[in-house]
Point group: C2
Chain length 343, copies 2
C-alpha cells in the first residue's frame, strides 16, 4: 500500500495537517519540523493521492480532447500540439475518439460519463452542424475547434478558412494557372471546412476575374488520400483539363498528385498543386507539396489557454478566435507558368 499523510504524520510525530502544510510549502513551519517531516516523507516514499486531492478540490488536472481519429495525420498532429500545450499548463490529456464524422457519437461524447473526471473538454466535431449548436450548452468548460458548429455557447477556436483558401488559390493564379480545380468539395454541405475553402477559392477567382467552372469542382466526402485520388481520377477521366489543383487538405492533394502523375502529367510543369494543413509529410512528397499552415500550434495553444481560463471561472464564453495562417511555397507550385498556349 502507498503511504498516506497519516503514515507520514505518525512517523514524524506531528499532525496530518502539518505534513500537508510541508507538502504545500506553507510558510510558517519551524525548520526543525519541516526537515523531520521531509525525512519521513522520503523514508516512506510518500506521494500525494491525486484522487483524494481531486475530490477535495473539485479539480482533477485532466482535460479531455475529443476528436475524430488519431490515425488521421491531421488529428494526430493536432493532438500532439494540444498535449504539449496542456503540459505547459500542468494539465494532462485524456483522448477520446468519435470516429470519422459520426454525429451521434459526437453528441453522445458531450454527455459521456467517461469525461466526468475531466476539468473541461476540447472538442473537435466533424459531423455536427450549427443546428446542433445548443447541444454545446454543457455544464462544464468547453472549447470547440473547427468549422462545423458556429454560434454555440462555447468558446471557439478556428482557422481563417476563407482567407487561407483565397491565398492558396491566389498563389496558383499568380503562378499563371487559369483553370484551377479544387478537390474535396462536399455535395450537401453548407458549413464546414469544405464550404469555407470553396468560398475562398471562388473569391480568389472573382478577384482575378477568372470564371468559376463547376466541372473543376471535385467532390470528396471523406478526406483520405484515396478520396483525393478518386476525385482527381474521375475528373481526368471526363476529359476536363486543368493547370492547377487546390486540395482542401494535404491528404487530398497528395492523393490527387499521385493520379496526376499516373496520368503522365508533370507537377508542377503541367499541373501545379497546393494542399492545406501543413502535415509533416508534405515536406517529403515528390515533389514537395506547397500547402497552407492554418496555425495548428496556435490553435492548440489558444484552446488550452481558453479552457484554463474557463476552468478558473474567468471570462465569459462564446468568443471566436481565429489563428493566423501561412502559405508554404514548395516544389509543387514552383516556377513561373508562361501564357497558356491553348488559350
Amino acid at each position: 500500500m502507498a503511504a498516506t499523510l497519516r503514515d507520514v504524520a505518525a512517523l514524524a510525530g506531528v499532525s496530518i495537517k502539518t505534513v500537508s502544510n510541508v507538502v504545500h510549502d506553507f510558510e510558517h513551519i519551524r525548520p526543525a519540523t519541516r526537515s523531520r517531516v521531509r525525512a519521513a516523507i522520503d523514508e516512506l516514499g510518500y506521494k500525494p493521492n491525486i484522487t483524494a486531492r481531486s475530490l477535495r478540490s473539485g479539480r482533477t488536472g485532466v482535460i479531455g480532447l475529443a476528436l475524430p481519429e488519431l490515425s488521421l495525420s491531421y488529428f494526430g498532429e493536432l493532438a500532439d500540439a494540444v498535449i504539449r500545450a496542456a503540459e505547459r499548463a500542468n494539465l494532462v490529456v485524456l483522448v477520446e475518439q468519435t470516429g470519422g464524422g459520426d454525429r451521434d457519437r459526437e453528441i453522445a461524447m458531450l454527455s459521456s460519463a467517461r469525461l466526468q473526471m475531466t476539468d473541461g473538454l476540447i472538442f473537435s466535431p466533424l459531423g455536427m452542424t450549427s443546428d446542433d449548436a445548443q447541444l454545446l450548452a454543457v455544464p462544464y468548460p468547453l472549447v470547440v475547434l473547427g468549422e462545423r458548429v458556429f454560434g454555440g455557447p462555447a468558446d471557439h477556436v478556428t482557422m481563417q478558412n476563407v482567407a487561407a483558401a483565397r491565398a492558396a488559390t491566389r498563389l496558383l493564379i499568380d503562378r499563371g494557372c487559369r483553370r484551377i480545380a479544387v478537390i474535396g468539395a462536399r455535395a450537401d454541405e453548407a458549413v464546414g471546412s469544405a464550404a469555407l475553402r470553396l468560398q475562398g477559392y471562388r473569391e480568389a477567382l472573382a478577384e482575378a476575374e477568372l470564371p468559376f467552372d463547376p466541372e473543376l469542382v471535385g467532390v470528396a466526402e471523406q478526406w483520405h488520400r484515396v478520396d483525393g485520388a478518386e476525385a482527381m481520377r474521375a475528373m481526368l477521366a471526363t476529359g476536363v483539363r486543368c493547370d492547377g489543383v487546390f486540395g482542401f487538405s494535404d491528404t487530398l492533394a497528395l492523393g490527387a498528385m499521385r493520379e496526376i502523375q499516373a496520368a503522365g502529367l508533370r507537377v508542377p510543369e503541367d499541373v501545379a498543386v497546393i494542399g492545406f494543413d501543413a502535415l509533416d509529410e508534405t515536406r517529403f512528397s515528390l515533389p514537395t507539396l506547397s500547402t497552407i499552415d492554418a496555425g495548428r500550434e496556435q490553435i492548440a495553444d489558444t484552446a488550452v489557454r481558453l479552457l484554463v481560463e474557463r476552468i478558473a471561472g474567468r471570462s465569459e464564453p462564446g468568443a471566436v478566435h481565429f489563428a493566423d495562417f501561412t502559405v508554404l511555397q514548395r516544389e509543387s507550385t514552383a516556377g513561373e507558368r508562361g501564357p497558356d498556349p491553348a488559350a
Copy 2:
C-alpha cells in the same frame, strides 16, 4: 452545482445508500422504491461523481499510454488502436508523449505524478535499453510495448521483428532481387527494432545463399521520411547499385522510394521496395507500397487485456507476447524480375 446522492435521497425520501443501490442495480429493492428513486435521479440530472467513486474504490477507470509522439503516423495509429481496445474494456486513455526517443524523459515518465490517477500504464519506450530493465519495476500495473527493453519485470507485447523482416526480405528475393539494400540501420544499436530487422534481413540472405554486403546497409538514426530519403540518396550517390530496398519502416521506405524515383529509376521495374508497419498511407503512395503488418491491432488488444488482468491482480507479470504478422504484397514489389542481366 451537480446533484449528489444526498440530494437525490432527500428528494426521493430514502437514504443515501438506497439511492446508491438503485444506481448499482442492486437486486433487493422494491419496484416502487426503485422507480421513485429513478424519477428523482432524472429530475435532478444526477450523475455519479467519478472522483469520489475512485477514491472509495481505488480504481479510476483510466489507463495511461506513454509513447514518443502522436505526430509520427505509426504512433498515431497505435494510439487509435489502444483507445479503441480500451473503450471495449470500459477504460479511458490518458496520453503522454515522451518525445522521439528521449531516454531521460521516458524514465521520468515512469514515476511521474501525472500518472497517479491512472490504474496502469501502457508504455512504449524508444530511448531506453535493456540496461534500464530494472527501472520497469514500478509499483503499478505496467505493460511494455516495443523492442527496446527486454527482460524487465513487466508484461511485454511485441512483434515478430526477426521473422517479419525475414519474410519481407524473402519476398524481394523470391521476386528475383539479388542486391537488396536496407534503410534504417542504427550505428550503435544492439537491441531495438533496427537491430532485429537487420538480423531478419541477414537470415533471409543466408537462407538464399546471397552475400551480405555492408555497402547495402543504409543508416538512419531517426525514422522520418526525410531520413529514409537521405539514406537512399547517400547510397545512390556513392554509386552503389541495388535492385531491391527493404525499409525498416514505411516512412523510411516512402522516403527512399521518392529518391529512387528522383534518380530516374522505376519502382518496381528497376528497384522493388517494401516497407514495414502497414501505415494507412502506404495504400495510397505511387506506386502503392508493399509492407509488413506487424499486428498493430493485436498488439493494442493484447496490451489492454494484459493490463486489465494485472489491474485485477490476476496472473504474474513478466511474460512476452508476440503478435502475428502479415506480408502485404502491393505494386512496389509487383511483377517477376528476370535473371539479372548484369550478373
